[in-house]
Subunit: 596 residues, 2 copies
Amino acid sequence: MPTYTAPVRDMQFLLHDMLQIEKYSNLPGFAEATEDVINAILEEGAKVAEEVLQPLNVVGDQEGCTLKDGEVTTPTGFKEAYKTFIEGGWSALSADPEYGGQGLPHVLNSGILEIMSSANMAFGMYPGLSHGAYSAIHAHGTEEQRRIYLPKLISGEWTGTMNLTEPHCGTDLGLMRTKAEPQADGSYKITGTKIFISAGEHDLTDNIIHLVLAKIPGGPEGIGGVSLFVVPKFLVNDDGSLGARNGVTCGSIEHKMGIHGNSTCVLNYEDATGWLIGDEHKGMRAMFTMMNEARLNVGLQGLSQSEVSYQNAVTYAKDRLQGRSISGAKEPDKPADPIIVHPDIRRMLMNQRAFNEGARALVFWTALKGDIAIKGEGEGEREAADDYMGLFTPVIKAYLTDLGFAHAVNAQQVYGGHGYISEWGMEQFVRDARIAMIYEGANGIQALDLVGRKLAQNGGRALFAFFKELDEYIAERENDAAVAIYIEGLKKAKADLADATDWLMKNGLANPDEAGAASTDYLHMFGLVTFAYMWALMAESAQTRLANGSAGDPFYESKLTTGRYFVERVLPDTSSLLARVKSGSESMMALSAEAF
Amino acid sequence: MPTYTAPVRDMQFLLHDMLQIEKYSNLPGFAEATEDVINAILEEGAKVAEEVLQPLNVVGDQEGCTLKDGEVTTPTGFKEAYKTFIEGGWSALSADPEYGGQGLPHVLNSGILEIMSSANMAFGMYPGLSHGAYSAIHAHGTEEQRRIYLPKLISGEWTGTMNLTEPHCGTDLGLMRTKAEPQADGSYKITGTKIFISAGEHDLTDNIIHLVLAKIPGGPEGIGGVSLFVVPKFLVNDDGSLGARNGVTCGSIEHKMGIHGNSTCVLNYEDATGWLIGDEHKGMRAMFTMMNEARLNVGLQGLSQSEVSYQNAVTYAKDRLQGRSISGAKEPDKPADPIIVHPDIRRMLMNQRAFNEGARALVFWTALKGDIAIKGEGEGEREAADDYMGLFTPVIKAYLTDLGFAHAVNAQQVYGGHGYISEWGMEQFVRDARIAMIYEGANGIQALDLVGRKLAQNGGRALFAFFKELDEYIAERENDAAVAIYIEGLKKAKADLADATDWLMKNGLANPDEAGAASTDYLHMFGLVTFAYMWALMAESAQTRLANGSAGDPFYESKLTTGRYFVERVLPDTSSLLARVKSGSESMMALSAEAF
């Protein structure tokens, strides 16, 4: 049976040393987040994850959700665990105090999200979607809608969902058929079928708030005619009590590769009563608030499965005695050495470790930008932070899930044959991690978003700001021998990325297929460069600690070594990715469809 | 529901054009393999695979095998399918005519193995293991043992198994505890527990021939004290009829990630009667005959799952209408373009295509060496072919399964959300393909076998012969504009591999950890170079055809384009792999086990 221990110390290191979150006490909610408060929250969250959620992860996988007479039953223990979760106030952590939230920094919440997702990814999706619904209503709903829905979504008494996909349209939502007929009282009657609705129906709460994309008849064709509606499972009376059942039912739940503990529903809407969120035909704008947040959280899921699978692979590699070290027996008194002595086992573990710590730094670093984008004092400060959020969202979603999956596969490999056997739990991490590359916009779509939209947005303002930040950072440290390895690695990788960017600008406009052909490789280069930056920042923080009273602390020593491993063993990929980008689209697009 | 069409034409191209198998009519069994015979066999094999085995692939996954009162029941239809399979003589194709085989070339059989495995990997394992048992007994058994077991293994009336792993030992078989007590009549009493025994118990045949590794008490410690025994499920009477049930029982079957249609058994041996195969304490030598064959077939499984998942991804990419081509609508009359117009979808499909065709060429090319190693006329010719077999076996096993799995994941990605839903069948290909990276020696062990044993064997004779072959091949064509792209790519990649090899020779002996740290990246470089060679050979054959009566044939045109894609988009990886190799083991091995 797999185990999990929340990486609390690493998170403390990132918040207090690398990001020095105390510096931001001018932002609302940050002053309350003292070092003691942050540490207490992380430790409490770790307890819930380790003691309540993690033991249910295998149960959720084996039992799955069941649909009977339109009602979905979640796996044994999920209901009680959810009660514990919301009673602990975990769904309210970074929500608006105006509606009952605790108003703490989002960067802190993202740490809690990773911990909960590592312990039980399928479970974490229920509150995760609620928070997305909260954000969309908070940003685009009327004050009345906020008063009706936000307090219950924040407290967790109700959960939320996102309804986009239909059988014939996923990425291309312009093809949407679900209709919303305006009613005299200002409401709408929603009719249509939505699929792949995570947490679409369940027994955890007595109401579910569906956010639904639909077309108002007579509106513009395509994506410009899509509006967003709030459709509660049970209508809400003026006094806040629950009224009649709304016209939305669960037609079936999907049998899928993983995340069995979360119900993936087909939802049938028949004259369901809904209310417009935001403006008519501007549904995508409102939904994007929810999707961007969801994309960052899906990136976190990639990290979360790599982290938990890594922890178990380490335990196995230390326990499993097999063979002798090729450089001479390490434990001659035992029948064999533990397999962690073998370089190829180390390779897999170090790859995971370098990824997990780099990814966590990137998520925290970006989440802090998210806080600044909303709470920052100056307009310019908020805009700059929001630019970064937009630029990094597709990178975090796609790079962290591509790699998170690959590393869950590595962790399974460390187990040898036992990794393939269900009872060891490693193959579940692989199956669960797999979905993160697909939902919330398949990773190819993220790459296109990065290359086709985010790079050029506002004349490339976000990208140039990031490059400028990197160039200045590198220039300031070029002669600092202590961080030479990390800075040289970053400099070389950034140069490759700049080279690829120039190539894209020259060729992508002339022939959009060139941009499309390069998109995924470019996104991976971008991911590597952001990781190189994070590793340089972490190395500096670790060295500061080592030089100031923590000399010899293995935590900081390991940081430096893991960062060096990243630079030496992972970062060189930028050169072959650059070669691919520059090879262009010709041989990729040459074959006719018939030739396949 | 997924479908499958055997790549018969590609196999014909490889056998007749690239390998020109007709040239080898001097080898026993090759003269019989005329173009007509080969084509008829491939087409017949395709029918069985497409019509009988493929429809059972999903059934096998969903039903799995069941154990009741020690008896294992295979999924619905497997028994009938197996009957059809052996009645068609498919298990006898390349077996020794002396014992009832058809004696046809192994290279032809490897094509049939790929086809059967693409259609139903779990099913293909039953006859696959029988063939391995056949080979071990054929090579190391006594004439009496051959007479007793080979005819029934060849006809398929009986199946075979390999028994190596025990709960506490997989890779490190020296730790083995299963005992074999010598008896007065020359037999042995085998007692112990073996795990992960594929096809260990089933209802397809009325006898199962277990090949079991065990230790004879008083023998040498460790791996040098391991002997190989044949242990039939039912003892065989002198007249060939079945006698008493032997002391081997199935204790349980594993619940695993995939290949549910194949029973993975825990086998308990209690005073089971067995007979020594080969010499006492020389069991590993005998077992390696079986393992090397099995490793090539596992490599084939990697290819087989990439091929079948690729075919389905292509179909989906042509049917699914979503979005518009970024270079302008391709099918304006439809609500959207088929997703095959999108470059990132092409990228995934072309990566798979370039891999599948390159892998198939490599398997055929190596299998022909296998025929020559056994049937070749001159001692030198046999030795050279056997050297190549030894050198390429770990590469084919590990590279084809690492990439085969990665490409099954790509094919699943093409389906978007539907790829995660079981009913579409794509996630099964991923789960099934995953085991191939693990069993028959985890891929890290293959890398160590390549770097630690095969490179240096006989003073590097095999490697230097291969490098010499490449250098001469390149030199002869350097000024041939028609194949310039392929030759330049091969030359650059081979130079990187030679560079890495020099680095290994300089550093690997001084510090074995350097060799271990480099092993997997080196193996992947080796795989890329062999693929580059295969693509150059295929491009030449395609050009010959195009210049001789097949001008404009899309099959040959596509070969050239796909080969170019491989050179431009896949082959550049050698540069970053080389950088990794040269970065050495220091940062990989620096952390103490406690620091993890």
